[in-house]
């Protein structure tokens, strides 16, 4: 039996004195799965994603990703873990405006200390396969929303992560660009990439996810 890529057990996360943002959440994601996390604003979707990405730590429970207990990692270790195992795609792209498209994509590889030439070749292949190679030397500010999100996906994939986490990847895009990203994620899933999507977009969830998890008031419910 294959070990899960994500294994959350009894995870609770509280902010200040209010009700927990996540309450006793347990879930697993197997390699190759594409899981969509659905729910309204404030339901705990982003908190869940932050915990899986080792951007945050739970108050209770354990978070194991790619065989590593990420809830016990320090800042430096979680950074190293992230760049080795996780690719992140954000709703507002979070591209660095002062770097070219190629430099944005290369950045995680460079932070990992990857060989220069190999990283450049891989980044070029990614840009090519995502259809944005012609923008390699452009700056993100000049690209459309869909193109920027493609750059963000390329950057997320440059270190060949075991897990791709996407937070509302179509949330800031028009319909055409949203379709574009949807196709891209589908294609990645078909290629065997494990994906966790956090989204409001039911259509994205239906098209790209093999299963969905509903979030409500910090509780996770398996839906499909």
């Amino acid at each position: 039996m294959t070990d899960p890529v994500i294994d959350l057990r009894g995870v609770t996360r509280r902010y200040d004195d209010g009700p927990p943002a996540l309450h006793d959440v347990s879930l697993t994601v197997k390699p190759g799965e594409s899981v969509a996390v659905l729910g309204p604003s404030g339901s705990g979707k982003s908190t869940l994603l932050n915990l899986i990405a080792a951007l945050d730590r739970p108050d209770e429970g354990t978070v194991t990703v790619a065989g590593t207990r990420v809830d016990t990692l320090g800042e430096a270790a979680s950074a190293r873990f992230r760049r080795a195992h996780i690719g992140l795609v954000f709703q507002f792209f979070n591209l660095l405006d002062d770097l070219t498209v190629l430099d944005n994509v290369l950045l995680p590889a460079q932070l990992s200390g990857a060989a220069r030439k190999e990283a450049r070749d891989h980044a070029a292949r990614l840009l090519n396969s995502l259809g944005i190679a012609r923008h390699a030397d452009a700056y993100p500010g000049r690209l459309s929303g869909g193109e920027r999100q493609r750059v963000a996906v390329a950057r997320a994939l440059v270190n060949r992560p075991a897990l791709l986490l996407a937070d509302e990847p179509t949330g800031a895009l028009d319909t055409a660009s949203g379709d574009d990203v949807r196709h891209l994620l589908n294609q990645l899933h078909d290629d065997g990439q494990t994906i966790v999507l956090v989204t409001h977009d039911l259509r994205l969830a239906q098209d790209c996810a093999t299963r969905t998890i509903g979030m409500r008031d910090g509780h996770a419910e398996e839906e499909r």
Binding site: A53, E75, A76, D98, D103, G113
Partner: protein, 758 residues
């Protein structure tokens, strides 16, 4: 609380780093300004205060006969007083320099109210009051004239006009051999400038029979001499005060402008809520002035406290008491700094307040135009880790802010370089002034045991001591020193001739120009002697030693602060040495050598002892002050840099979050932040070090010139390659110092929180 009050309070509380930095920078700026300007003013005030209190003489006229001139412009006169130049002997024949003795009935009068600092005024013809400026003689001490008349010292007094070195009653004139001249003292309605004093002098001369005026001394000359030692501080203080003020304006300006600039979005929100542009300007000016006022008060207190030891030293120079920094200096310094704060805050807030509300709110949300992309591309090609490359390119994204950082670092580096050079020069100058490279000194006899000139005991020393020194193992070089007072026509101040029995050039005598003497009749002299004699290198002058004329051909100018002239012992053969100075071979212990030499010399006669080094208290004060001001400027530079870096990091905290989300470790984050200032630090150092050296080359000679001295180049060339290399690292060191805290903050920031930041 009003809406404005709430905005101000929250602004001060929320921006803790800026609030603290504004307070500290204002404190440092006020401290530097109070110190610089305060001491500058204080260095002139003591003489002026004493002169006013004593109703000092604007003109002291030396006359051949006792007569008064009626001059319409004179507001007060005193005299004529009989004047005598008297050679005295102390107990057991100890010879003293000639004293200019003035006979007057009491210390008071309309002009030159002599101030008694100890004892009382003379009441009998055999009593004398000594001027404390020249040397200190205890009350009860007896002085004997060549004719055998004994005078008892009954008091010590001080004339700010420098009219005499001792006073007696008019009834004592005959006991001193009769008057050799007379003195008239004048105060005039207008005597503030050399031209006015010269006009007054001409009026006095015109009112007297021709040839009756021997000479006249202006109070301006007396004043110049009196403030000379404290005036040595002046160029140094001016340089530091200017550095401090430039730095204060620069850093206070950028700190305030940056703080207000960083709050643009907040300003937009306030405007959206109905706050007027004027209200916003008021809020931000007050927000900046609150911590600055606290800092200015602290700085004013600190500046006054730090000035105390310097003022104490100046008090000793002038004999005045309770000197303090003028209150208005503190007020002007604090007010000036607060004005800079208010003006900068006003200008920056006005700009932000005029922004369209929608634009102001959009700041931080919309993509801002990115500058310096070329630098980013270039840095990406460098063979350095990516975080370092990202950091190196960062300064080009904010050129104005980078320029401000660069100026702050350069000024800090210049301050360190200047201070280091100044301290090194002062140490060398002190060494050259003391002319004290000897390891061991042999003194002929204690002054109280010393016989008169040319008498038996010294004659014995003259033969015995050199032979003993020459035979003592460990002797590398030695020479004997004889000193005698000399006079020259038309000069009232005592001068000294120093005769050497051998080569003395190894003992710290530095040549300014010309060469050392090599033959009898040749001499070298210091600038004060040359100035007093109106002579130059190459001239021949005549002085009188023990009443005998001696012709001296000046072959060189030596670095010397006293009014001395140096000759070979062969020039005046009947001057026996009173002291021998010895250089030892390497590895010879001075104490053991002295002990062994003393055994040979026997007890009761000449005694050898290791030569001690005295620290000049004034030098110690200057060095202390230099260190304090340098630390202040460094702190201001580092604080300015820290503040600008904090602002920069706040601006791009979201980007930091992205970097960290992509796997940048805390160590890589620190490397990126440090790299973003290290280049600026290097450049700042490269600019600041030459500026500091130039300042040192400007200020140190100016300090010497204000003391009437010329400096040999060897006293200025203090920057060796190692020191220069170390100083060049000063810029990066300041940058590192200022970057450490923001870098740590950037490394610790939570990724998720940073990503949420707009």
């Amino acid at each position: 609380m009003s809406a404005l009050g709430t905005v101000i309070r929250s602004g001060v509380r929320r921006r803790r780093v800026q609030t603290i930095v504004i307070g500290l920078v204002a404190a440092a700026a006020v401290t530097a300004a109070v110190l610089g300007a305060g001491l500058l003013v204080a260095s002139r005030a003591p003489f002026d205060q004493a002169f006013a209190a004593q109703r000092g003489a604007h003109l002291t006229v030396q006359l051949t006969t006792a007569q008064q001139a009626t001059v319409p412009t004179a507001t007060a006169t005193a005299g004529p007083y009989a004047v005598m130049n008297v050679p005295f002997h102390g107990p057991e024949g100890m010879r003293m320099p000639d004293l200019t003795v003035v006979a007057r009935p009491g210390p008071g009068g309309d002009v030159d109210r002599v101030e008694l600092t100890d004892g009382r005024w003379a009441t009998a013809p055999d009593e004398i009051v000594i001027g404390g400026d020249m040397f200190r003689v205890p009350t009860g001490f007896e002085l004997t004239t060549d004719d055998g008349h004994v005078f008892t010292v009954v008091g010590t007094a001080r004339s700010v006009s420098g009219t005499a070195s001792a006073w007696v009653l008019p009834s004592a004139v005959d006991r001193l051999g009769g008057a050799t001249g007379y003195q008239m003292l004048y105060r005039f309605a207008a005597a503030g400038t050399p031209a006015e004093v010269e006009a007054d002098r001409a009026a006095v001369e015109a009112a007297l029979p021709p040839g009756s005026v021997l000479g006249a001394r202006s109070w301006l000359d007396v004043r110049e001499r009196a403030v000379r030692e404290a005036a040595v501080f002046v160029p140094f203080l001016v340089a530091f005060a200017l550095l401090g003020i430039v730095m204060a304006v620069l850093v206070v300006g950028t700190v305030i402008a940056g703080t207000v600039g960083a709050a643009t979005r907040r300003i937009g929100i306030l405007k959206a809520l109905g706050c007027t542009p004027a209200g916003i300007v008021r809020a931000f000016v007050i927000q900046a002035l609150l911590p600055a006022t606290v800092g200015a008060v602290a700085g004013a207190v600190a500046g006054n406290l730090i000035a105390l030891p310097v003022l104490a030293e100046t008090e000793q120079l002038y004999g005045s008491a309770n000197m303090t920094i003028a209150w208005w200096v503190t007020l002007v310094a604090a007010g000036g700094v607060l004005t800079v704060v208010a003006a900068t805050a006003w200008a920056a807030a006005l700009r932000a307040g005029r922004l369209r509300t929608v634009d102001a709110i959009a700041v931080g949300r919309a993509s801002s135009p990115v500058r310096g992309r070329w630098a980013g591309r270039l840095a990406a090609r460098l063979p350095v880790p990516r975080p370092v490359a990202l950091g190196l390119a960062r300064p080009f994204a904010r050129p104005v802010r980078t320029t401000a950082i660069l100026l702050a670092v350069a000024t800090g580096a210049a301050a360190v370089t200047f201070a280091t050079g100044l301290a090194a020069s002062l140490v060398r100058i002190q060494g050259a002034v003391e002319q004290n490279n000897a390891d061991v000194t042999v003194e002929a006899a204690a002054p109280s045991q010393q016989a008169g000139p040319g008498e038996q005991s010294q004659a014995q020393d003259w033969r015995v001591v050199p032979a003993a020194i020459g035979a003592q193992p460990g002797t590398r070089a030695f020479y004997g020193v004889a000193q005698a007072p000399v006079t020259a026509p038309g000069l009232s101040d005592p001068m000294t001739v120093t005769a050497f029995t051998g080569d003395a050039t190894w003992d710290g005598y530095l040549m300014v120009s010309g060469r050392w003497f090599t033959a009898p009749g040749e001499a070298v002299a210091g600038a004060p002697f040359l100035k007093a004699m109106g002579a130059r290198v190459g001239d021949t002058v005549t002085v009188r030693a023990d009443g005998e004329p001696v012709r001296l051909h000046i072959v060189g100018e030596v670095f010397e602060t006293g009014s001395g002239v140096f000759i070979s012992a062969a020039t005046i053969p009947d001057m026996p040495p009173g002291e021998w100075r010895i250089a030892l071979t390497d590895g010879t212990d001075a104490s053991a050598y002295s002990e062994a030499l003393n055994k040979k010399l026997g007890g009761g006669g000449p005694q050898a002892h290791p030569t001690g080094v005295e620290i000049d208290p004034l030098l110690a004060v200057v060095q202390g002050l230099t260190a304090t001001l340098t630390l202040l400027l460094l702190a201001v530079a580092a604080l300015g840099l820290l503040n600008m870096l904090v602002l920069d990091l706040r601006d791009r905290v979201h980007d930091l979050g992205v970097h960290k989300a992509l796997g940048m470790t805390p160590r890589q984050t620190i490397a990126m932040v440090v790299a973003s200032v290290i280049g600026v630090g290097l450049l700042g150092g490269a600019l600041g070090v030459p500026a500091g050296i130039a300042l040192q080359r400007l200020v140190v000679p100016a300090m010497a010139a204000s003391g009437g001295l010329h400096l040999p180049d060897s006293l200025l060339d203090v920057y060796g390659p190692v020191l220069l290399a170390a100083l060049a690292l000063g810029g990066p060191a300041i940058a590192l110092l200022g970057a450490l805290m923001p870098a740590g903050w950037a490394a610790r920031i939570r990724t998720a929180a940073a990503l949420r930041t707009e």
